[in-house]
C-alpha cells in the first residue's frame, strides 16, 4: 500500500509540475523538419535492425531445439524448448509494438502472433487440426499458406505448454508425433517470417529516413516520424485496452485470465514488460545494448524537466510490473490480485495521457486538425 501511495504521489507530482508550466518556453515553435531525420535514422536504421536479427536468431534456435526434441522426446528437453520459446517470445513482445512497414505487410504481424483472437478461432482450429491431423500442416511451406491462427506463437504455445499436448509429445504416441512435427513446422515457419522481416526492413527504413516531397509515402521527415509516435501511443493503448482491459472485464466477477495474451504459457504480464521495453526504446533511442540514450523521440523534446519526469513515470510503471507475477492468472489468484491488476492498468492509462499530452504535444507528432477531431 505504501508503495502504491508513493507511486501515486510521484505521478501526481509530475503532473502538477507540468501543469504549472515547466514546459519549454518555445514549445509552440515549429520543430524544423530536419530535426526529425536523425531520430528516424537512429531508430529505424540503427536500433531496430539488430533486434530483428536477434528475433530471427531466436526463432532459428527455437526451430533447432524443437526439431532436436522431437527426435527423442523427453520432459527435460521439453523444458529447454519451452525456454527457447520464451526467449523468442520475449524479443517478439519487444518489437511487437513497432507496427509499421514490413511488420504489418502481408499480414506478417498476425502470422507471427494471431492475437487478439476475439472469437477463439485459434483454439477451434487447433482442435480440428488434432482431430484430422492433415499432413500439410507438418510442412513449413504449406503451413505458411494456412490460416494465420494456426501458424504462429499462439499455436506453438498450445503445442508446447498445454499439459494434454505435452503429455502426448513426451509419450510419443500418435498425437504426440503429429504435434511434434506440427510444432517444428510452426517454428521453422516463424524463422522464415522473421528472416523476411529482417531482410525487408532496411528498404522501409531508408524510405522513412529519406522522406521528402517527391515521396508519395512519406513527404516529410515529420510525417514519417509520426509513425513512430503512433507506435508508441497505440502500443500503450493496446496494453491498456486489450492486454489488461480484456482480462479485467467490467468488474471482479467478470474478470477472466484466459482473455489475456499468452496465458497458456502463463506469461501475459511478462509480455507487457517486454512491450514496455520496446516502446520505451522509441522514446529513448536506447534498447538494451543497442542505441544511445536520448536519441529517440526524446531528442525532440526541448525540456529536460519534462524528459526527466516522463522517464521517472515510465520507470515507476516498470517497477510496479516487476512486483507482479508473470501471468494474469497467477495475479488474479492472489486475494488482492484484481485490485493490483486494476491499479496497474490505471498506471498504464496515466502513461497514455503523458504520451498524448507531453510527448505528442512537444514532439508535434500528436496529429492535426482533422486527425484529432474529425467527423
Amino acid at each position: 500500500m505504501l508503495l502504491k501511495s508513493c507511486s501515486r504521489l510521484m505521478l501526481l507530482s509530475t503532473t502538477a509540475a507540468i501543469a504549472i508550466g515547466f514546459a519549454a518556453p518555445n514549445a509552440h515553435a515549429d520543430i524544423p523538419d530536419e530535426n526529425y531525420r536523425p531520430v528516424l535514422n537512429h531508430l529505424l536504421n540503427e536500433v531496430m535492425p539488430p533486434k530483428l536479427d536477434d528475433f530471427h536468431k531466436a526463432n532459428a534456435q527455437l526451430s533447432t531445439s524443437i526439431t532436436d526434441f522431437c527426435a527423442d522426446p523427453d520432459a527435460d528437453d521439453l523444458k529447454d524448448v519451452q525456454e527457447d520459446f520464451h526467449q523468442a517470445m520475449d524479443i517478439w513482445q519487444e518489437i511487437q509494438p513497432w507496427r509499421m512497414g514490413p511488420m504489418v505487410a502481408n499480414g506478417r504481424d498476425q502470422h507471427i502472433e494471431y492475437w487478439p483472437d476475439k472469437h477463439g478461432t485459434a483454439a477451434r482450429q487447433f482442435r480440428k487440426l488434432l482431430f484430422s491431423k492433415p499432413a500439410g500442416y507438418t510442412d513449413p511451406e504449406q503451413l505458411s499458406e494456412a490460416s494465420a491462427a494456426l501458424q504462429g506463437f499462439p499455436a506453438l504455445e498450445e503445442v508446447l505448454f498445454d499439459p494434454k499436448n505435452t503429455a502426448h509429445m513426451t509419450s510419443s504416441d500418435e498425437d504426440g508425433v503429429y504435434l511434434c512435427q506440427y510444432g517444428a513446422a510452426i517454428a521453422t515457419n516463424l524463422e522464415t517470417i522473421a528472416g523476411e522481416l529482417r531482410d525487408e526492413w532496411p528498404e522501409f527504413a531508408d524510405a522513412m529516413a529519406t522522406a521528402g516531397p517527391d515521396s508519395m509515402d512519406y513527404p516529410t521527415a515529420k510525417f514519417a516520424a509520426t509513425d513512430l509516435y503512433r507506435a508508441l501511443h497505440e502500443g500503450i493503448l493496446i496494453i491498456s485496452a486489450q492486454k489488461l482491459g480484456k482480462p479485467l472485464g467490467d468488474n471482479k466477477q467478470d474478470a477472466k485470465a484466459s482473455r489475456a495474451e499468452s496465458e497458456v504459457s502463463k506469461r501475459s504480464l511478462r509480455n507487457i514488460a517486454h512491450n514496455l521495453t520496446g516502446l520505451f526504446a522509441i522514446y529513448d533511442g536506447k534498447w538494451g545494448d543497442v542505441g544511445s540514450e536520448g536519441t529517440g523521440l526524446a531528442a525532440l523534446i526541448d525540456s529536460s524537466l519534462l524528459d526527466r519526469s516522463f522517464r521517472l513515470n515510465w520507470q515507476t510503471v516498470v517497477d510496479a510490473l516487476d512486483g507482479l507475477p508473470a501471468s494474469v492468472e497467477d495475479l488474479l489468484a492472489q486475494p488482492d490480485g484484481y485490485d493490483k491488476l486494476a491499479e496497474f492498468k490505471s498506471q498504464i492509462d496515466f502513461l497514455t495521457t503523458l504520451v498524448e499530452n507531453d510527448i505528442g504535444g512537444n514532439t508535434q507528432l500528436g496529429g492535426g486538425f482533422n486527425a484529432l477531431d474529425g467527423d
Binding site: 507496427r99 509499421m100 512497414g101 514490413p102 504489418v104 505487410a105 502481408n106 499480414g107 506478417r108 498476425q110 487478439p116 476475439k118 515521396s215 508519395m216 509515402d217 512519406y218 513527404p219 516529410t220 515529420k222 510525417f223 509520426t226 503512433r230 497505440e234 493503448l237 493496446i238 485496452a241 486489450q242 496529429g367 492535426g368 486538425f369 482533422n370 486527425a371 474529425g374 467527423d375
Partner: protein, 379 residues
C-alpha cells in the same frame, strides 16, 4: 496561423475577420480552361476557435472567407444558383445559406430544439428543396429534414432516415431518391452531443429513400461482426454505384474493411487495401469522392495521412498518396484527378493514375485549417 492570415489579407488590401474578398481570379489572355475557372469551397478554421466557409481558386488563391458561428462541416451546392448551404457539424444548431461568389449570408436555418444538424446537406436537382441529416436525439432516430428554398428556406417536411446517426447524404441518379449513410452512433446533447452512447449495439446502414414521400426504397447493412463500422461518408457515381467510407469504433488493431461499394438491391461489398496501406488508414475514413469519370474514387484517411484510390469497376484498390492530415477531396474535370485539402493548411492536386501529388501554387490557402469536406464549383 491566424496572424499569418490576417497579414495576408492586409497585403491584399483588406482585413478583419468578417471581410469578404471579391472573386479575383486572374484572367489570362484567351479563354481559361474549365478547371482553371473552378472554385473550391470548404468549411475551415483558424487557430483560435474561429470558423469559416472559405473558397479558393484552382491555384489555391483564397477568394473569400465568411465567418461562421461554429464549426462547419460539408457544403451543399444549389444547382444553377448562387446558394450554398453550410450546416454546422454535429450536434449543429445553425445552417447558413451563402452566396457562392462572395460568401454573403442569404438565409439562416435554425434547427428545432429537439433536433441537431449533422453537418451534411444536399439540394434537389431542381434546386428547390434542401435536405439535411439530423438527429432526433430523444428517440435515437435519424431524420432527414426538407427545406423549401423557394419559400424562404421554410422547413416543410421531415423523413425517417431509417437508422441512427445519419451523416452524409446524396441524390441518386435521376434525382428522385436520396441515399443516406446512417452511421449507427447514438449521441445526445446531454452527453456533449458527440460521444457515442451505443458502441456495443450500434447498427449502421445505407438507406435509400424517396425524396418526395420518405418511403424506404433500399437498405443494406454490413454483417453483424462489423457492426462497429460506422458508415459515415459516401459518394454516388453517375451509374448509381455508391462508394462508402467507414470509421471503426472497435479496437485499433482489429482487422476490418474500411471501404465498401454498394449497388442498391445487393449487399454492400467490402474492399480492402494491401495490409501495409490498410494499416495506415488507421481505422478511419474522412471523405469519399468519385472522379470525373465515375470509375475512380478517392477516400481520405486523415488519421493515417493518406488518400487512398479505388477502382469502382474492378472493386479493387488502385494506389495511395500520402497527404498529412488530408481530408477534403473534390474531383477535378480530369479522370483520376482530385484536389485535396488538409487540416495543416495544404492544398494539392492528387493524380491517382500517375500517383502524383502537386501543391497548389498560391500560398494564401495555407493560412487555414481545411475541414472535413471540399466541394468544387464549376464556373
Amino acid at each position: 496561423m491566424r496572424h499569418q492570415r490576417r497579414e495576408f489579407l492586409k497585403l491584399m488590401g483588406v482585413g478583419g475577420a468578417f471581410t469578404l474578398l471579391p472573386i479575383d481570379i486572374a484572367r489570362a489572355a484567351g479563354t481559361p480552361a474549365p478547371e482553371d475557372r473552378a472554385v473550391y469551397i470548404s468549411a475551415s478554421a483558424g487557430d483560435a476557435d474561429d470558423y469559416y466557409v472559405s473558397a479558393f481558386n484552382a491555384s489555391g488563391k483564397i477568394l473569400f472567407e465568411q465567418a461562421l458561428p461554429g464549426r462547419g462541416h460539408d457544403i451543399g451546392l444549389r444547382p444553377n444558383h448562387v446558394d450554398v448551404a453550410a450546416v454546422e457539424r454535429r450536434p449543429g444548431l445553425y445552417g447558413l445559406i451563402l452566396d457562392r461568389h462572395t460568401g454573403d449570408v442569404r438565409a439562416k436555418l435554425h434547427c428545432p430544439e429537439d433536433r441537431r444538424f449533422y453537418g451534411h446537406a444536399i439540394y434537389s436537382n431542381d434546386g428547390r428543396f434542401l435536405y439535411i441529416t439530423e438527429n432526433d436525439f430523444d428517440h435515437a432516430r435519424g431524420v432527414v429534414s426538407v427545406w423549401d428554398a423557394e419559400d424562404g428556406y421554410r422547413r416543410v417536411a421531415e423523413f425517417d432516415s431509417f437508422g441512427t446517426g445519419p451523416h452524409e447524404l446524396h441524390l441518386m441518379p435521376g434525382g428522385e431518391h436520396l441515399v443516406i449513410a446512417n452511421g449507427g452512433l447514438h449521441t445526445h446533447p446531454d452527453f456533449d452531443g458527440r460521444t457515442a452512447l451505443n458502441i456495443d449495439s450500434m447498427e449502421p446502414n445505407l438507406s435509400i429513400i424517396d425524396r418526395r414521400t420518405g418511403k424506404l426504397i433500399h437498405q443494406a447493412s454490413l454483417k453483424h461482426d462489423w457492426h462497429q463500422l460506422s458508415i459515415r461518408h459516401l459518394d454516388v457515381a453517375a451509374n448509381g454505384t455508391i462508394a462508402a467510407g467507414f470509421q471503426y469504433q472497435g479496437e485499433i488493431n482489429d482487422q476490418v474493411p474500411l471501404v465498401g461499394i454498394w449497388q442498391p438491391g445487393k449487399e454492400i461489398r467490402p474492399i480492402e487495401a494491401p495490409d501495409n496501406v490498410q494499416y495506415r488508414m488507421r481505422q478511419y475514413c474522412g471523405s469519399v469522392r468519385f472522379d470525373a469519370s465515375g470509375q475512380v474514387f478517392g477516400i481520405s484517411c486523415p488519421r493515417g495521412g493518406l488518400v487512398t484510390f479505388w477502382d469502382a469497376k474492378t472493386n479493387g484498390f488502385l494506389t495511395h498518396i500520402a497527404a498529412p492530415d488530408g481530408c477534403g477531396l473534390a474531383a477535378t474535370d480530369r479522370p483520376g484527378e482530385f484536389v485535396g485539402t488538409s487540416g495543416l493548411g495544404n492544398g494539392w492536386r492528387l493524380d491517382a493514375i500517375r500517383r502524383k501529388r502537386v501543391e497548389l501554387p498560391d500560398d494564401s490557402h495555407k493560412s487555414l485549417h481545411w475541414d472535413n469536406h471540399l466541394r468544387r464549383i464549376t464556373a
